[in-house]
């Protein structure tokens, strides 16, 4: 019987990282509806824009670390299980993406009040939509992972894989 744990945690970490990049690239940079600290420091001067950009960068750096950790775990999972389940992986990706939106939305938008999704509106329905999208993706991801039919497999060790290698 093989474990799905490495694949699930790898997919979840990659989902979190990619979710963070979607937030940073789409909402911070392309649409510019908010910056990291815009609830406290509105982008009304060049200095304020630059300061927000600095904290955006710190946020992106940690998002990058999550992504790198996810890639490392995915590599490890692929070594253990050469035939990983697409359904489990996609489910884990969605679970991670949803976890990012849920945690970031709750902590940054509601607890710390660092920014809101559409800053010019302040606390708005968009914050609720962001949080709800996270919960929805977590639910879909969990359902996908759980619905992956259990199948018995033998453990594929490195030694046996070497034997089967052409």
């Amino acid at each position: 019987m093989r474990t799905r744990r490495p694949l699930i945690s790898a997919g979840a970490l990659l989902g979190m990282g990619l979710g963070g990049f979607v937030d940073g690239i789409l909402l911070h940079q392309i649409l510019q509806v908010h910056g990291m600290l815009t609830a406290r420091l509105p982008k009304d001067s060049v200095a304020a824009v630059e300061i927000n950009m600095f904290w955006d960068g710190i946020f992106h750096a940690f998002t990058w670390l999550l992504t790198v950790l996810g890639v490392a775990l995915l590599f490890r999972a692929a070594r253990r299980d050469p035939d990983p389940s697409t359904r489990t992986f996609v489910g884990a990706l969605l679970l991670g993406y949803g976890a990012f939106n849920t945690v970031e939305g709750f902590v940054d938008h509601y607890v710390l009040h660092l920014h809101h999704v559409v800053e010019r509106l302040g606390p708005s329905m968009w914050d609720v939509v962001f949080l709800a999208s996270g919960l929805l993706m977590m639910a879909i991801g969990t359902a996908l992972v759980r619905s992956d039919a259990p199948v018995r497999h033998t453990v594929c060790s490195d030694a046996s894989r070497e034997q089967h290698r052409p």
Partner: protein, 69 residues
């Protein structure tokens, strides 16, 4: 005409704002002082606050029971 003249003068007189955390300009100094003020560490902790929670979620998933197929 006067407004147009004023606009042209403003455009020609203005120069690009050189602003970055390392720039030796007035704006650059304002950026540095805005980042590395007395609240640098608390702000850093707030900005990265979601990440330990996300890492804990991933760790939980890694160790979750009933994960075999």
């Amino acid at each position: 005409v006067r407004a147009q003249f004023a606009f042209v003068v403003m455009v020609l007189a203005s120069h690009g704002a050189s602003a970055c955390p390392l720039c030796h300009t007035e704006t650059g100094r304002a950026v540095r002082s805005g980042i590395f003020d007395g609240r640098f560490v608390p702000t850093l902790l707030e900005v990265v606050a979601p990440f330990p929670i996300l890492a804990a979620v991933a760790a939980f998933l890694h160790g979750a029971p009933r994960d075999r197929r």
